[in-house]
Symmetry: C2
Subunit: 80 residues, 2 copies
């Protein structure tokens, strides 16, 4: 069994209104000098295999098909 | 200027219906042997300081006050 983490982030240039809202909220809370906030998603999951190459290939397919919108998002895969 | 990443994940034992839905969707797409999917959030941001200790303390305060709900979520901070 392999533990994996998939991180999905917006590509550069894609507007991130949620990030902007968080930036505003942090400013309102008194945190200065904070910028370029971008929010992304993270998926932690377990794969029932011991074959790391297969796990990585499967994860890539999952990202392409479901977890990430590759038009506007990048993804990174890391195996524990 | 310091680049930082904050990862917010649900604590163990907290129900994650979104993760369950993703698990079901992956199964329907033909990915077998996937389990324990948990979805979390990731925040990438820049802090205008060179003082890493201050940056880390600030980030911790931001997590406690805004970025994470510490009743049900854990957070990890990593500085680039």
């Amino acid at each position: 069994m392999i533990n994996a983490r998939v991180t999905v982030t917006l590509k550069n240039g894609v507007l991130d209104p949620q990030g902007k809202a968080i930036e505003g909220a942090l400013g309102a809370l008194g945190f200065d000098g904070i910028g370029h906030i971008r929010q992304g998603k993270v998926f932690d999951l377990q794969i029932e295999t011991e074959d790391r190459a297969k796990a990585e290939a499967d994860l890539k397919a999952m990202c392409e098909k479901l977890l990430a919108n590759t038009v506007i998002e990048n993804y990174t895969i890391s195996l524990a």
